[in-house]
């Protein structure tokens, strides 16, 4: 199973790409201080009730969006959630060692993921399954590291989707360096770096802000503030809204409703356009919620109550778009029924693919440690082989 096949209907080249992609520049180009932000303003295009609200600044980025594209966003979110649920189930069944669920963050990931062009480049954390989906990465690839058969292992260049990074914040510097390279090449693509509210405290993230600002690198920093870093609420990382962090480094920051896929799409498109237009980095804070546990190893009942989750369930990203699609007649019953079936198929395929995933050969330990070889690795591989052979001898007797 590949994503490409399942995802065929969805416009990969960026939803809403026909939307007016110009005109914003003049207003934005005042740069760092364009976005004054004494009070957090949350960019929202769809209310939790599914009502489309006007936004003078960002409407234009989704102005031309078609019904098909809207259904595409919905489908992405539903299939991503389904994939995620399947992975959680597979962990419970012992097929995976761990799973980091994105439940609740579908809009942030699909909205931003669908804002990208093919030649843009993504640097994810370990939770960007929805973005991976948008990039056409085979979900099975994502599962390898959680099953423990590899530490990632996909080719980042196949889909311009970098490996998952577990050490918090590190990838923001890789993203910045990559973006510096794009600028050097004179290319007009951009980079998007994902990180969490917890990650915002890491020195590496601050350094990536400094480097990207100084070199005016075409990178969008996309912070999913899901309110929690494992058991710590965002107040343990900052005493002001996170999007404000950018300003002190000389580039704009904006807070978007992270459960509103349209708003995430629009704001990310705006930020990417800035990057491609030579205006440098932008910070997007997607205000969202981690509806599940941190990972399958976590027990959130130890540190947070139900009320909070219930409040956020009312803002569910999928429900909200469904209400809008239905109210505005962008989709009929047939679409939802078909999607339900597709969902089932996806779940089944993922399940089967994971179960069929073979354990790696022991010699894989010694592979890919170096690209050009290393005498010590060769020596240890040979010793390992001799040691293995000694059992064969015994067993042979």
């Amino acid at each position: 199973m590949t994503v490409e096949s399942t995802a065929a209907h969805t416009p990969r080249r960026s939803a809403g790409s026909k939307a007016g992609a110009t005109g914003a520049k003049s207003k934005r180009s005042t740069g760092a201080n364009a976005r004054k932000s004494a009070d957090p303003e949350l960019v929202q295009l769809l209310t939790p009730e599914g009502k489309r609200v006007k936004n003078a600044e960002y409407d234009k980025y989704v102005a031309g969006i078609t019904s098909e594209e809207l259904r595409g966003l919905y489908r992405d979110m539903v299939l991503t959630r389904r994939f995620d649920a399947e992975a959680t189930a597979l962990q419970r069944q012992g097929e995976l060692g761990l799973w980091a669920s994105l439940l609740g963050q579908e809009a942030a990931q699909i909205g931003s993921g669908r804002a990208l062009n093919d030649d843009d480049y993504v640097f994810p954390t370990y939770r960007e399954h929805g973005v991976a989906w948008c990039r056409g990465v085979d979900p099975t690839n994502l599962l390898g590291m959680f099953r423990g058969v590899n530490n990632g292992g996909w080719d980042p260049n196949s889909n311009n989707f970098h490996l998952y990074t577990i050490v918090i914040g590190s990838q923001t510097l890789h993203a910045t360096g990559y973006a510096m390279g794009i600028a050097k090449d004179g290319a007009d693509s951009a980079v998007i770096a994902y990180f969490g509210d917890g990650a915002s405290s890491q020195g590496d993230v601050a350094e990536s802000f400094t480097f990207s600002a100084v070199y005016n690198a075409p990178v969008v920093f996309f912070c999913q503030n899901n309110q929690w870093a494992i058991s710590e609420p965002t107040e343990k990382q900052t005493r002001v809204p996170l999007y404000q962090r950018a300003q002190g480094f000389g580039f704009p920051g904006v807070r978007v409703d992270g459960n509103d896929v349209l708003a995430c799409l629009a704001v990310t498109k705006w930020a990417l356009e800035r990057a491609r237009g030579g205006e440098g980095p932008t910070l997007v804070e997607a205000f969202t919620y981690r509806m599940g546990a941190h990972t399958t190893s976590d027990d959130p009942t130890r540190y947070r109550g139900d009320e909070e989750r219930l409040a956020w369930e009312a803002k569910d990203p999928i429900l909200r778009l469904r209400r809008y699609l239905e109210a505005a007649n962008h989709a009929d019953e047939g679409f939802f029924a078909e999607l339900e079936a597709e969902s089932e198929t996806l779940g089944k395929r993922v399940r089967e693919a994971v179960r069929a995933m073979p354990d790696p050969d022991h010699y894989a330990i010694f592979e890919n440690v170096y690209a050009d070889g290393h005498a010590l690795v060769d020596e240890e591989r040979a010793q390992f082989a001799a040691y293995q052979a000694s059992f064969a001898d015994v067993e042979g007797v």
Partner: protein
Amino acid sequence: MAAEKMALAKAINESLRRALETDPKVLIMGEDVGKLGGVFRVTDGLQKDFGESRVIDTPLAESGIVGTAIGLALRGYRPVVEIQFDGFVFPAYDQIVTQLAKMHARSLGKVKLPVVVRIPYGGGIGAVEHHSESPEALFAHVAGLKVVSPSNASDAYWMMQQAIQSDDPVIYFEPKRRYWDKAEVSTEAIPDPLHKAKVAREGTDLTLAAYGPMVKLCHEVAAAAAEEGKSLEVLDLRSVSPIDFDSIQASVEKTRRLVVVHEAPVFLGSGAEIAARITERCFYHLEAPVLRVGGYHAPYPPARLEEAYLPDLDRVLDAVDRSLAY
């Protein structure tokens, strides 16, 4: 309740609790150490009982954790900081190596930094990348740090007491795969000195030296070897900086053979130093070169490969056989 059977994680928890009770300057700091009680529950219940000002959930930044702990120590506190997993200590490495380790010398002894850095380490728990490493040699090479690792609940309890009381920075490596192993812990025993090795099992034919998670394995090896009529001595080193070479030497002068076992990669692992120094000290006693069993020169592999990567009964027995064959 002076003696009780408890799991190693619980023993550390009790030891931290005792330190918090005895010394108002003791602080616990780290990611998720508060309400959650740490991802391994080692600090479970401590924030509840001692409050947020003594058991501190920190921002997600290891350099910041160690750096502010240094500042708190300068102010007279005795912080015990938790690094969530072995692979996440590196953002703090600069603060540990250039500041924590060197400030006492920099001040010609006027500044003392009684900071304990707790690091759950090692593999065998089927985890994802960066959650199973054994970086102890990277700290032991650095002067100014002390490095210890208990192998059982009783040592875990007492060595934590001693680490906190030490006026030197101590990197305290916790054998995470042994967190749930239970042992008798007497809270009144008079402990051995922190950096002294212990003969964990006596033997005459060969010495197995290990620390932390590998001590249990060495016991299993010794038991298996005993069935074949070989008498192995098991040394629990407990400390990687300093290493108690006198105890190793005494054992090797008796057994004339030494195998060192650790999870960390063999190349430049602590076994290298033990082999080099014991060979120097016991040149005429050794019947065989000091052999080492440990990790390979490769990144810690994915979970489904760790069994092949980690030292196990067969690999250590193989080394024992090779040594005895000299």
